[in-house]
Subunit: 138 residues, 2 copies
């Protein structure tokens, strides 16, 4: 399953070159050419799915079973102080290519990346009503 | 496997109340009490592992196989324009509780969350040398 006009599907097919760090029958992992930190890696399933909730549970399991090892390698290779694994879904969430992908972003103390985190508190009763709306869909 | 002084292990054990949205034998999903958007959900394995690369591949697979459905429900319930799934590993990456967890963050157009993304380009030869360092560890 691939999409004709998808940049990542073309990378999987070898039609667009990538700087590969890992590949097997399920996933391709390569360096982002517009990194936000050195070693910024993208992990994608070879099959085309747009977003996380579109992707079959079995395939998500296969991707995730490989993510820990790759993230550990990126973090160690970069001598980082930590790392983020980030999956953006939809333009509003920062997704630019409509093919499911996981960013592995090596972090150093005080680098200030992804730093807008304006945590707040719910009003009385709000958290319960939101949880109920989510539970209805699960 | 649990850690005596871990807040999330106490939540799993029922010693600290949570606003639960989903639970089974493998994971617990509940609303973050300090959300950055309404419906901000945390998904944690019941077993205690600190970071993604510490967690066995089989358990990561089990967690991820449940993530898509939960993320879809959060996003739909909040009528969002998108969502992020984010796993912070280490203080430098924003991890506050040392028990592996995935944030599901519902997003709306223009909300400005997680917005510091200072993308740059590698110098000549740099991307290949970085990839080689990562590949050595895989």
């Amino acid at each position: 399953m691939s999409a004709d006009d998808c940049l990542f599907c073309k990378m999987v097919a070898g039609q667009i070159p990538v700087t590969k760090v890992y590949e097997d029958d399920v996933i391709l992992a390569f360096l982002d050419i517009g990194p936000i930190s050195d070693g910024h890696t993208l992990v994608i399933p070879k099959q085309h799915y747009e977003q996380l909730h579109d992707c079959p549970a079995e395939l998500l399991a296969q991707i995730a079973s490989r993510l820990g090892k790759i993230a550990g390698a990126v973090s160690s290779a970069m001598n980082s102080d930590g790392y983020n694994v980030l999956c953006n879904n939809g333009r509003a969430a920062g997704q630019v290519i409509n093919h499911l992908h996981f960013h592995i972003i090596s972090r150093n103390n005080g680098d200030g990346l992804l730093s807008r985190w304006p945590s707040y508190k719910y009003k009385a009763g709000q958290i319960e009503s939101i949880a109920a709306r989510i539970c209805e869909l699960l």
